[in-house]
Structures are given as C-alpha cells and as structure tokens.
C-alpha cells in the first residue's frame, strides 16, 4: 500500500479529483502524535499502581501486622487482646451504638423520603436542602453544636431558661446521646437512597393500585414499601458504615461520657502509647473492618432481590394529604427546627460570646473569637492552610485519576477493572481510622529509595486522602459516563486518537460538569476531614478537622465554636457554588439538589 505524506501537493485537497481517485492518501502515520505502543495498557498499569500502592498494599500490610506481628500467627496473643475487658466492652458498645443508630436513621430517612417523594407537601425543595444539610457538616462540628445547644448562649433555649446550669451532667454525654446524634446525622444517607428508589418507581404500578381502590396508606404499605425495599436497605448499609466509622461524634460525646467504642479505643491507645501499640491496634482495626463488612453483608442480605425496575419517563403521581397536610408539614418543619436550627444557632451563639457559659446579649457579644480563629491563632491558621493545600492537591490528583479509572470501569470490563473498583470502594467504605492505622504501618519505615520515612509528615495524610476519597470522586464521574454515548469515544478511536488524546478531547469536555461535582464533593469532605488525620497529625502536620477536638479538649469552647461556624459557612458556600455550576448535572449527583 502506498501512502504519501498529507502535506505533499497531491493530497492537498484542493483538487476535486483527489477524493475520487483510487490511490489511498490517508495521512502518513509517522506524522501522528507520538504515543506509546499501547496507551491503554500503560494507563491500566498506572491505575493498578495507584490503587495498589494507596489501597491494596496498605490494607494488606494492616492485616499482616494484625495477624502476624512477629512473622508468625499467634492465636494466644489474639485471644488475649480481643478477650480483654476493655476491648470486649468497646466491641459491645460499638455494635449496639451502630445498630441502634442505623435503625433510627433508617426510620427517619425513609419517612422523610416518602413524605417528599410521594405527597403534595409544600416547599419541598427548601425542606430537602435543610434535611440533607447536616450530612455536609463535619460530624465534630455537629457534635459541638449539639453540646452547645443547652448552653446559656443558645439563642433559643437560653432565653427560655431551658439551658443547663453549669456543673450538671450534659444529657448527650451518654450512650443514648451518641445513638441519637449518629441516627440524625445519617438519616439523610437513607433519605437519598430511598428517594433514588422512589424516583425509579414506575408510575403505572401506583396508578394500577389506585385503580384497584388502594388509598394512600394501603398504597404505601402494600405497593411502595415492598418495591423500594432495596433502596431502604442500601441506605441502611450506608448509614451503618457511616455510624460505625464516625469518629467525630463518637469521640466528642463518648470520651467525656466514658462510653468506649472501638474507634475511640484505637485513637486513645495510639495517642497514649504511640507506634509501640501499633500491632495491637492493627488487630482492633481489623476487627472494626470485620464488623463493618459484616454489617454491610447483613443489610445486603436483607435487601436482596431488590426490585430493579427502571422507569424514568414518568414520575409517580403525588398523593394529596388532604386535611393531614398542615399537621404533616408542621411536624416536618419542627423536625428541621429541632435538628438543624437549634444546634447551629447555639453554635453561633457560643462563638459570639466572650467566655463559655455566658448568655448571649448586647454586653457579651463579640467577634473576637472569629477574629482569633481567622487571624490571630497561629495553630488554626497553619492547620487551615495545610488542610487547604492538601485538599486542593487531593482534588487535583483524584479527578484525573477518577476520570481515567471511570473510563476503564465503564468501557473496558474485565477482572482488573473489577478489582480496581472493589479496592477503591473498600478503602472508602472502611472507617477512615482503619486507613489511618494502615498508612502509619505502611509508611512507618523509611522508604527504600528516598531513605527517609514519611511517618509524621503531611505526605502520609495526603496518601490517606487519596486512598480514602477515590471512590467518592468516582461516583459522580461514573454517573457522567453513563450519559456519554460510547460511540463518541469509538468514533474518535477510529479517527486515530490514542487513549490520552481521547480522554482529553472527547471524554473530558462531555464530563466536565460531573468532574466539577466530584471535585466539590471531595473538597468538601476532605477539608473538614477528621477520622483519618486525627491519627496522622503530628507537631509537624496539623489539619483543621481535628482542631475542634483539640480546642474543645483544651477548654477553648468559644474558639472551637468559632472554627466550627467557619467550617459550616465554608460548606454552605461550596454547596451554593455547586448549585450554580451544576445546572447541567445528571440527577442525583448532587445530593442536596431536589
């Protein structure tokens, strides 16, 4: 076959016959972009390395350290550690707290989804935003806000005289308090999952039941609930995983209340004994991972054979609440008042008074705490700066990786792709503290080539973030891929574009809104993150997330409240930004958008 260079005069295209004659003048291959012999294989290799080094190997190292600390399996040691009174107590507490909180979250979230999804309640969009908002607030801030809810500075309970006198035991410093807060905190997770199921419910099924004479209650009980069972249990699984690994609430309430859970036990032992307790703590972390996986397996089994009917064409019709409309709406808004306004207003109240315990009035009001948090407190400023660049770097690395990984997962099936997906999901589902322990173990020893260890530096935190949030970044991007037609990529492939050119020219422009949403999600989660970094922070590397706990432990409640307020404002700003850039996003990518 003869091929001539395209810039030779014969194929300039100016001659009308050049397209009709029979000698091929396809552009000469040597002129194509320099590309590796097989770009896709290269990409896959890079992804395997990324996920392998950041997820699979550290978790493997954790399991090895837990089971074979001195190179051999020692059943007696394992029995001794797990059989200890404190560990046994923590295990029982962990299971009881996470199961009870999951039940509370499931009932609340399902009711909320049914109400907003099926009834003609008014102002749904605003209510949904308020209901989902707590999920976006860092748990340590939520815990702090609830602790402040009963302080004299609360603008709601304070003037009513319902605040706790100093010295009395706080009602939330208890097992019940932890369950209550975890349940409320995770209810939006169940809500989102159930709402997604409701939106897929074929309208005709409900209309058929209506035609058979089923009223609103019978319809919900006999038709809707069985059909959304899969969504309810999927949400319950998320709520369980989130509850069992929620360090912020368990630590802020559990440590003062002396209610020990696995997660707080690991944290306290590691901060008192340092790396010498690592092998034992690895065992506890493995136990926690085991409990998490068990919980997911049980909920998956309960929700098995969930109906997978998809019918996006028609939304189910809304049911008229009739004379129940006002009471239902009143209850719904009262819930938001109690669960959102009460704690958050108290948090702001506390941040605005000079000293903890003062009521909020014209004499005590001050912006000193905010000024301190923003400008004067060096620790806070540095921690914030560290968190900011760590988070930005995480986003900058994870979004391209997630776009490439999404490509492999969606369009190139195979066992490697499945393994990559499983590994990234596992690193996301397992409580962050487990990733923390795994990262310490993995990076404790000096690295082979550099000769110096990363332990105690900010780079370990970065590694933990990359491992932890890959799946979070992946989710909106997979949703975006589902909307791109496969032929667009194949057409570009036929035009001669290699994998990297296609990702840049074809995939990325179509995926931009989803990638943006993924970036905002990762940013919001990582900037306030506490579970992983609380173990990894050192005198050299502080992040803003655990700062609240340190400030509260040090007695600076008002300063802690001010930092918490700033975090909430940051979250609100990001949510607003995402609503502006996210107009073209597929439904369900941004959880707070109805």
């Amino acid at each position: 076959m003869t091929r001539s260079a395209p810039n030779s005069p014969t194929s300039s295209g100016s001659d009308p016959l050049s397209l009709a004659d029979n000698t091929p003048k396809r552009p000469y291959r040597a002129l194509r972009l320099p590309s590796a012999p097989d770009g896709e294989r290269l990409l896959l290799l890079a992804l395997v390395l990324f996920v392998g080094v950041l997820s699979i190997v550290p978790l493997g190292r954790l399991a090895y350290a837990a089971l074979f600390p001195q190179g051999g399996f020692d059943a007696a040691r394992i029995a001794e550690i797990l059989g200890g009174r404190r560990v046994a107590e923590a295990v029982v507490n962990t299971i009881w707290i996470s199961v009870a909180a999951t039940l509370l979250a499931t009932v609340t979230g399902t009711l909320a989804a049914l109400m907003t999804g099926l009834t003609d309640m008014r102002n749904r969009t605003l209510w949904v935003f308020g209901f989902v908002l707590p999920l976006m607030i860092p748990p340590q801030v939520t815990a702090l806000a609830w602790i402040q809810a009963f302080s004299p500075a609360s603008p709601i309970l304070g003037p009513l005289g319902l605040s706790l006198p100093p010295g009395t035991r706080h009602p939330l410093y208890s097992m019940g308090g932890i369950i209550f807060l975890l349940g409320l905190y995770n209810a939006p997770l169940v809500f989102l999952s159930v709402r997604a199921s409701l939106q897929r419910l074929p309208a005709s099924l409900l209309e058929a039941a209506r035609a058979n004479g089923a009223g609103g209650f019978a319809l919900t009980r006999d038709i809707v609930l069985p059909l959304i069972r899969g969504g309810v249990f999927a949400g319950a699984a998320l709520a369980f995983v989130s509850a069992i690994g929620n360090f912020g609430i368990q630590a802020m309430l559990g440590i003062p209340a002396r209610v020990s859970t696995l997660i707080t036990l690991i944290y306290r032992r590691l901060s008192s004994y340092g790396p010498s307790a690592l092998n034992d703590m690895a065992l506890l972390a493995l136990l926690l991972a085991g409990l998490t996986v068990c919980g997911m397996a049980v909920t998956a089994w309960l929700g098995r054979r969930g109906d997978q009917r998809v019918d996006a064409a028609q939304r189910p019709p809304r049911m008229a609440l009739g004379r129940w409309r006002l009471p239902v709406e009143a209850t719904a808004w009262a819930y938001l008042l109690a669960c959102l306004v009460l704690p958050l207003s108290a948090l702001f109240g506390t941040a605005l008074v000079r000293g903890y315990g003062q009521p909020l009035n014209a004499e005590t009001i001050t912006f000193e705490n905010f000024a301190n948090a923003l400008f004067h407190h060096e620790g806070i400023r540095e921690a914030f700066a560290t968190s900011l660049w760590l988070t930005l770097l995480t986003v900058a690395v994870l979004i391209p990786v997630a776009v490439a990984l999404g490509y492999v997962l969606v369009w190139r099936k195979g066992w490697v792709a499945r393994l990559l997906r499983l590994a990234s999901e596992l690193a996301y589902a397992l409580p962050g503290i487990i990733i923390g322990v795994a990262m310490i173990l993995f990076f404790l020893r000096p690295l082979p080539l550099i000769g110096t260890g990363l332990y105690g530096t900010v780079w370990v935190i970065l590694a933990a973030y990359l491992s932890n949030y890959l799946a979070l970044a992946l989710r909106p991007i997979l949703g975006g891929y589902a909307q791109i037609e496969r032929g667009l990529d194949e057409a570009a492939q036929l035009a001669g574009a290699g994998i990297f050119a296609r990702l840049r020219d074809i995939v990325l422009p179509s995926l931009a809104p989803s990638a943006m949403a993924a970036g905002i999600l990762v940013f919001m989660t990582a900037i306030n993150e506490i579970q992983t970094s609380v173990l990894l922070v050192s005198s050299r590397a502080q992040t803003i997330g655990p700062m609240i706990i340190f400030l509260e432990e040090a007695g600076s409640s008002t300063l802690a409240a001010a930092v918490g307020c700033l975090m909430v404002l940051l979250v609100l700003a990001l949510m607003g930004l995402s609503l502006i850039v996210g107009r073209r996003l597929p439904e369900g990518v941004l959880p707070w958008r109805d």
Binding site: M1, P6, N7, S11, S12, G13, S14, P16, L19, A20, D21, N22, P24, K25, R26, P27, Y28, R29, L31, R32, L33, D38, E40, E485, G487, L488, E490, A491, A492, Q493, L494, A495, G496, A497, G498, A501, D505, I506, P509, S510
Partner: protein, 361 residues
C-alpha cells in the same frame, strides 16, 4: 488495495457463541451489505472488523495485512477504517467543521491543509454553510452527512456503516440511500453496510451476506439471493418468499426442470448439476403467482382467506393445494375485488429448486 478477507471467525461472549466460522471475501471497492434479524451477530461482526472486539478464532486481513488474528490485534485507531454509527456519534462539543477535522488533527496534518480539506469535503456533501453549527442544531439527514464527511476527510479506504438509516423516518431514507451510492462512487472505498432492512440491502449492495444466528447463510448478489436462494432459510427470508414441496423432479437441461407442485406440473429453474429426485423444495415469491380465469388447464385452485387493499394492488392470502392447507400470498393488480371464501384459480409462472445439500437445514 483494501480488500477484506474474513476467515473462519469465531466470537463468544461468555457462554454464548455469537459468530460461528464466519468467512467473507470482499473485493476492493465493493459495496457489501450484511442482512439479518436483530441479534444475529451482524453488529458484532462489524465491531470485530473495526477492532473493538478481539476474536476467539479465525482472522481478518485488510489489504493483505492481518489486522485481527490469533497473535495480533491492531487497535481501532491504527486501522484507518471509517465507521458511520447508527446514531452518527458526532461529538456534541465540537462544530461540524471540528468534527470533520478531528481525525486530520490527530494525524498531525498542518492547519492550512486541514482547513482546506475540511472545506472541500463539506462542500462535497453540501454542508459548507453549516460548518460552524453544532451537531445538536442539525437535522437527522444533515448529521448523517457530517458522519459521511468525516469518513471522506480521512479518505478511509474501508467504511463500515452500522444501520445508518434505522433512526430516520421513511421519506428521508430514499434520499440518503442515494447519498450512500454517491459516496461510494466518489470515494471508491470498500463499504460494509449492516442492516436488518432487506429493501435497503438489496437496493444498495453489490453483494449481500444473509446472516442468521451467527452464521452466514448465503453471500451473493441481490438478484441471486432473490432468484436462486441457496437454502430454505434464505428463500423464506428474502422478498416474502415461500417454500413449497415439489414431487418427481426431472431436470431438462439448460438450468430448467419439471416437477409437480401443489398437485400440478410446473416448469422450474434449477442449478446446473441438479439430478432427478423424488422430492424437492421449491422457492417462490408472490410475483410468481398469477390469477387466471376459472377452468384454465392445470390451474391451482385456492380459497381466499383475506384480501387487503394496498393502493396499486390487492394483497391476497389464500389456502391452496389438493387439501387446501398450503398458505400462499400474491399481489393482484387493481382494480380487483375479492371476497373472503371466494374460490380462485392460480398459475405458477416461476420457481427455483433449492439445491439438495442445503435443503436439510
């Protein structure tokens, strides 16, 4: 040269074998259609040719160069094949001109040359004034022409078309069929056209490969498929064909034979090597049956079961044969009127003896 040699192709998805020993030899510049019902494996065959699927057996050579085989798999971006996708796969974020230019840009063609070639190609498909538009602002027919222009610009020597008319309404199809014929004449490329619509396949292609359940049943020019089907399956599939029993087959030379069909002697066409045999299967089409006056010698009597008005003709379903249990259809030129249950007489003007080797499927 860009002849295509497909040799003993096997393709499995998990446990299901999608392609069985598919072999086709396509000449340089030929227009070939692959015709078959949905799910017969024709799209898989196209994806194998384009390089999107790897083979489980056999090989594909284009212009004498093996592109897919046991030890070799040239990726799609290195094959230089053009594909017109069912929904055209135009990149929505690029203008018409950018869509056409993309492959040239990847190939490293300098911008002045690229612009010139794109403008020329767009003029050829009469899309010059729309060069700056986005694909979303085009009609279905215009999108189709952008997809063709993309192949023209790349000067692809092999163009694969995946049911390109399936998403368009009826009256647009005729114009676009013409467009393909012009494209073929202009580019001289080897065309490989996938469709489930036999009217399209028979009208456009030099040769048609009839496919069913992953196998090629017959690969022949359209007239041959219609007049000389190689198997009962093809005979029944093409042109509303029917297969009847024939008795006492006697070849008379010159490619003709005599046999008894529906209890009456008939003159049939047959393959040159045909030998006398007691039973044969005969392929006929509605056009082979004529309505004759009552009492004509050797006429086949039939019972009208349904007659429906189709404008220029009356579509008639009858039950025929000695026992009145053989369903036949024929078209009777208008004006005519027939009632259900009416007895009519028919004459069989033509028929083809299906060769024996393929008569038993």
């Amino acid at each position: 040269m860009s002849d295509i040699a497909i040799d003993a192709l096997d393709k499995r998805f998990g446990q299901t074998q999608v392609l069985h020993q598919v072999s086709l030899a396509i000449a340089d510049g030929e227009f070939v259609a692959v015709l078959g019902p949905s799910g017969c494996g024709k799209t898989t065959l196209l994806r194998c040719l384009a390089g999107f699927e790897k083979l489980d057996g056999g090989q594909i050579a284009i212009g004498g160069e093996t592109v897919s085989g046991p030890a070799r798999h040239l990726p799609p971006e290195k094959r230089g094949i053009g594909v017109v996708f069912q929904n055209y796969a135009l990149w929505p974020h690029m203008s018409v001109a950018q869509n056409v230019a993309y492959g040239l840009k990847i190939a490293g063609l300098p911008k002045p040359d690229r612009d010139r070639r794109v403008a020329h190609v767009l003029d050829l498909v009469e899309l010059g004034p729309l060069a700056k538009r986005r694909p979303a602002d085009l009609s279905g027919g215009q999108r189709q022409r952008v997809a063709l222009a993309r192949c023209l610009a790349m000067e692809s020597r092999v163009v694969l078309l995946d049911e390109p008319l399936a998403n368009l309404d009826m009256h647009l199809r005729g114009t676009l069929e013409e467009e393909f014929a012009r494209f073929h004449a202009r580019s001289g490329a080897t065309m490989f056209y996938i469709t489930h619509d036999q009217a399209e396949a028979l009208a456009l292609a030099d040769r048609v490969a009839v496919m069913d359940r992953g196998r090629i049943l017959q690969f022949a020019p359209p007239q041959a498929l219609f007049r000389q089907p190689a198997s009962e399956a093809v005979a029944g599939f093409i042109g509303e064909g029917r297969v009847l029993d024939g008795e006492g087959l006697h070849p008379t030379g010159d490619g003709l034979a005599r046999a008894s069909v529906l209890g009456h002697p008939a003159r049939l066409r047959c393959a040159p090597g045909e030998r006398p045999r007691p039973r044969a299967r005969i392929s006929i089409h509605p056009g082979d049956l004529d309505l004759v006056p009552e009492g004509t010698h050797n006429a086949i009597s039939a019972n009208v079961t349904r007659a429906s008005f189709r404008g220029a003709y009356l579509r008639t379903e009858v039950m025929a044969g000695p026992a009145g249990d053989v369903p036949l259809s024929l078209n009777i030129a208008a004006p005519a009127s027939l009632r259900q249950g009416q007895r009519i007489s028919l004459a069989l003007r033509d028929g083809w003896v299906i060769p024996d080797t393929a008569a038993t499927p």
